[in-house]
């Protein structure tokens, strides 16, 4: 069975795989930050570590991908007029793309 034939299977799978990664990263973050953040240098040094930086970049991509699939599901269920659906999907898509750019810049700045 090709991916194209299995329409809807790819986003379904993406939603679950990203969910597992998001949950794991969040639980790990809670363990790391439960005692509070000392200061900026402590905060920046943490995200500058190559492994943490890469894991956080992946978190950002997983988060926005997960948000996109979920938003798409909800809009397809409740917003029936094609024009409105297209407009709202575009709006959310744009917001997620801008977020991706902002997050990438922030993380790459400290990671480089």
């Amino acid at each position: 069975m090709s991916w194209r034939a299995a329409s809807g299977l790819r986003p379904w799978l993406l939603q679950r795989l990203s969910a597992v990664y998001l949950a794991a990263y969040l639980l790990f973050s809670v363990v790391v930050w439960v005692g509070g953040v000392a200061d900026f240098h402590h905060w920046q040094a943490w995200f500058a570590q190559p492994l943490v930086n890469a894991a956080s970049l992946l978190f950002l991509v997983a988060l926005l991908g997960h948000a996109w699939v979920g938003t798409r599901d909800i809009l397809m269920d409740y917003v029936k007029p094609v024009g409105w659906r297209f407009a709202l999907l575009s709006l959310f898509g744009l917001a997620f793309l801008i977020s991706l750019g902002l997050g990438l810049r922030g993380l790459l700045q400290v990671g480089a």
Partner: protein
């Protein structure tokens, strides 16, 4: 008229009583929507906090302001409910806990668990 259009329709939301599994499901959607609306602002705040010491200070002050504390608590509940309900749905996908008794019990656990953890969060956060 097509037979499917003659079916009775009952959509009085004030009188419909949903089972706890349905409540957990719709709150999973609602909390997801809340988180989606907050996500771009959260990412922007995170980027600001990593920019420099002044940006970090600014981000801390924004998060510490009273309206954002309240909003943060709402989003904290949203994240907890979304996470717990999502983990429950992953278990259901794996055929774990699909019997009616267990599914109802786990749904109640998710609903109450997220609320209780949020109250705990409020104690630390507010």
């Amino acid at each position: 008229m097509h037979p499917s259009l003659q079916r009775p329709v009952f959509l009085d939301l004030r009188r419909i009583r949903q089972p706890v599994t349905a409540v957990v499901s719709i709150l999973h959607r609602l909390s997801g929507l809340l988180l989606v609306l907050a996500a771009p602002f959260a990412v922007a705040l995170f980027a600001l906090s990593l920019r420099d010491a002044a940006g970090f200070q600014q981000a801390v002050e924004i998060l510490a302001s009273p309206p954002l504390r309240l909003l943060g608590l709402l989003l904290g509940w949203g994240l907890l409910h979304h996470l717990l309900a999502g983990l429950r749905f992953l278990c259901l996908d794996l055929d774990l806990g699909v019997s009616r008794t267990v599914a109802r019990r786990s749904a109640l656990g998710v609903l109450l668990g997220a609320l209780i953890l949020s109250i705990g969060l409020a104690g630390v956060w507010l």
